[in-house]
Symmetry: C2
Subunit: 223 residues, 2 copies
């Protein structure tokens, strides 16, 4: 089955500027940009270790592109300032006739190599790992497809696959399902992936889990 994984090209969309706005009450812009970058590093490490053929990071701006290229190699960086879906669908169209394509969101610090390999080996024309709040955290396509990453992408991707008569598989994973948008999601990182780059960064910022009736997140002042 290793050959199946070695055919896949992974596409990771990444927003450098002012990401994770739903964490704005808890993290300033610089911290949110760093958090997003550490999450990308965690995902990238997992994706490379899984043994895929190539990784394309799809950037939404050319901000600090040389520095990004240096830090993220051997991933290929591609800048596309257009709407996210237009950008992803263009990459998908370019690749799909020669490789299966896995679109993986960049904020999955709980993802690990074992889960990702299982996902990439799943049968089907379209395989979807749902995220919370109706998202699509990982999408594997082996036939031409059109993505739709806003306004409840999970429901839309399921409909599109059915409409196009493609064999659809839902991939059931708690850890792949934890994308990071809210403070509750940060709690998941500290509970399940405290030693990831993301987890270490959150601890450095002073975030701690308090087990008090229900686990909750606090931020303490740090040095």
């Amino acid at each position: 089955m290793a050959e199946v994984v070695a055919e896949v090209v992974a596409v990771i969309p990444f927003r450098q500027l002012n990401p994770k706005s739903r964490l704005s009450l808890f993290l300033n812009r610089k911290e949110r940009e760093e958090l997003a970058f550490f999450m990308l590093i965690d995902v990238l490490k997992t994706v490379f270790n899984s043994g895929v053929r190539d990784v394309v990071i799809l950037l939404q701006s050319d901000e600090k592109i040389e520095e990004m290229q240096r830090k993220l190699k051997p991933a290929k960086l591609q800048v596309d300032t257009r709407d996210l879906n237009t950008a992803i669908n263009d990459v998908l169209n370019d690749l799909i006739n020669s490789s299966p394509v896995a679109v993986i969101v960049s904020d999955l610090p709980l993802l690990n190599e074992k889960i990702l390999r299982k996902f990439l080996q799943e049968e089907g024309d379209v395989v979807i790992a749902p995220g919370r709040r109706g998202g699509t955290n990982m999408l594997l396509v082996r036939k031409p497809f059109r993505t739709s990453y806003h306004y409840g992408s999970f429901v839309k991707h399921v409909s599109t696959a059915r409409f196009m008569n493609l064999k659809l598989k839902i991939f059931d994973s708690f850890f792949a399902g934890c994308d990071v948008d809210t403070p509750d999601d940060l709690l998941e990182v500290l509970l399940h992936a405290p030693d990831s780059n993301t987890g270490k960064f959150l601890k450095k910022l002073g975030f701690r889990v308090v087990l008090e009736k229900n686990p909750r997140l606090v931020r303490v002042l740090t040095g």
Copy 2:
């Protein structure tokens, strides 16, 4: 592997009175009690269909016990008004020398038979399906064990298993990971299990999903 499942006794703790207090802003007490009951019915159906040997519903009060017994048969009802952990550990102690025991929380309307059977067939002395916010949504034990269901049960169950030198397996499931405590969790029910008893009840109450940038929940006036 069907024999493995047929040995298991499932224990489902259930709180009849004033459950799901974190939904109090959105649902009145009667609605929350009904919601909890519909979720129990969904879980119970899944558990019976999985083919386990017996199901014990562990009630925290004897309120309306005859009506409950009638509606929930063939499950065995057991009332224990003591602290939840004391009650669960007592049942566990009674059963563990003759059967593997699966403790399953009653608010998993996204759980299905296929996932549950896979869980019950998982190897290990202790198998844990994590829930959001540090919870333990399903716990399968094949050797004596002590549960600890408050204050971050996932972390505590993992520690206990390690301390007792038991073979531990983490069961990775998005759908088993969705227990229902918050309005965000209700959104998951309407997205992924709209035709469950729970989903139909929420729709009857007027809850709808609006796909507007990010999917969100609204409640419209009904009837």
